[in-house]
C-alpha cells in the first residue's frame, strides 16, 4: 500500500476511535436518544466481543474446528470457567494460555 495512504488510514483510525469514545462524553446526552437506541447500545459489548472471541476459539485457521487438533476452544473453556469464578482478568488469561501450552505439548 502507498505510504501516504497508510498514514491516512492511521490518522483516520485515530479519528474513528476518538469520535466513538467522545460520542456521549463530549457531544451528546444519551437521554435525548430514543429508548430503542439505548436498548440496542446495551447489547453492543456482548455482540461485538463475541464476534471477536468465538472465531478466535473455534476457527483459528479458518473453517470451524471443534476437534482436539484445535486446542484453542478447550483452552477458551478453561479461561471462561476461571473468569466466571474469579473476577481477575490476569488469572483467566494465564489459565487460558497455560491450558493452550499444555494441550499443545501433549499433542506433540
Amino acid at each position: 500500500m502507498n505510504d501516504s495512504l497508510v498514514w491516512l488510514v492511521i490518522v483516520g483510525s485515530g479519528v474513528v476511535t476518538f469520535l466513538t469514545r467522545a460520542s456521549f462524553i463530549l457531544f451528546a446526552d444519551p437521554h435525548k436518544f430514543p429508548h430503542g437506541f439505548r436498548v440496542a447500545l446495551a447489547f453492543v459489548p456482548p455482540a461485538v466481543l463475541a464476534a471477536i472471541v468465538i472465531p478466535g476459539l473455534v476457527s483459528p485457521a479458518g473453517g470451524i474446528d471443534f476437534s482436539l487438533a484445535n486446542p484453542r476452544w478447550i483452552a477458551g473453556l478453561v479461561a471462561i470457567g476461571v473468569a466466571m469464578r474469579v473476577r481477575n482478568a490476569l488469572a483467566s488469561i494465564l489459565a487460558g494460555m497455560a491450558a493452550l501450552w499444555i494441550l499443545q505439548a501433549l499433542a506433540r
Binding site: G14, A42, P46, A89
Partner: protein, 210 residues
Amino acid sequence: MGTVPFGFVAGVAAVGAGMTPLQGIALSLFAFSGIAQLVVAQLVAVQSPILVTLLAAFVVSLRFLMYSAALSPHLAHLTVRWRVLLTYLMTDQVFGMGVKRYGDPGDRGHRHWHLFGIGITLWAFWQASVLAGAILGAQVPAAWSLDFVVTLSFLVLLVPAVRTRADIAAAVVAGAAALLAAGLPYRLSLVVASLAGIAAGVAVEWRHRR
C-alpha cells in the same frame, strides 16, 4: 492484565502488515485500541480500500459508544480539557475499573483522577509493548501462540458482559454469525455478526418485556 503481550502482538501485526515501526507506533498513539489496531493491520496487509478499513475500525469501536454513554453523567461536571483527556484514555479496562469505582459511595470530587491514573498507566504499558513488538518483530517463536492473548483479552471482557438471557442471545448469535460469515472479504463478517448479535439481543429483550 494481558496488556503487555497483547500490545506486543499488535506491534508485531502492524510491522507484519507492511507498516514501518514508526507507522506501527503512530497507529497505536492515534487509535490506542488493541482490536482496532489489529483489524487495521489485517486490512492494510490485504490492501483493502480505506473506507472499508475505517468501517471495520468503527464497528470494533462501537462498544465505546456504550462506555461513553455510561460514563458521561459522571464526567459532565469536568472541564472540556479533562473530558478530552479521559476520552482519549478510555479503554475497556478503564471503563470496567472506573465504573465499578463510580458505584461506590463517598467523595466524587476526585474520581476523575482515579480514571486518569488507570488510563495513563495502561497507556504507558500499552505503548511500550507496541513499540517493543514493532521493533523486535516476529522474534517470539510461533509455538508460544502469543496471538491467543488477543482472544483471551476479549474473552475476559465478554464473560462479565453476558448477564441476562438477552445478552446470551446477542453473544451466541454474533458468535455464530461471525463463523458463518467468515468467508466475506475485508473482515466484513465482524460488521455482519455484530449487527446480527445486537438485533438478537434487542429482539429477546422486547419479547421478554411483553
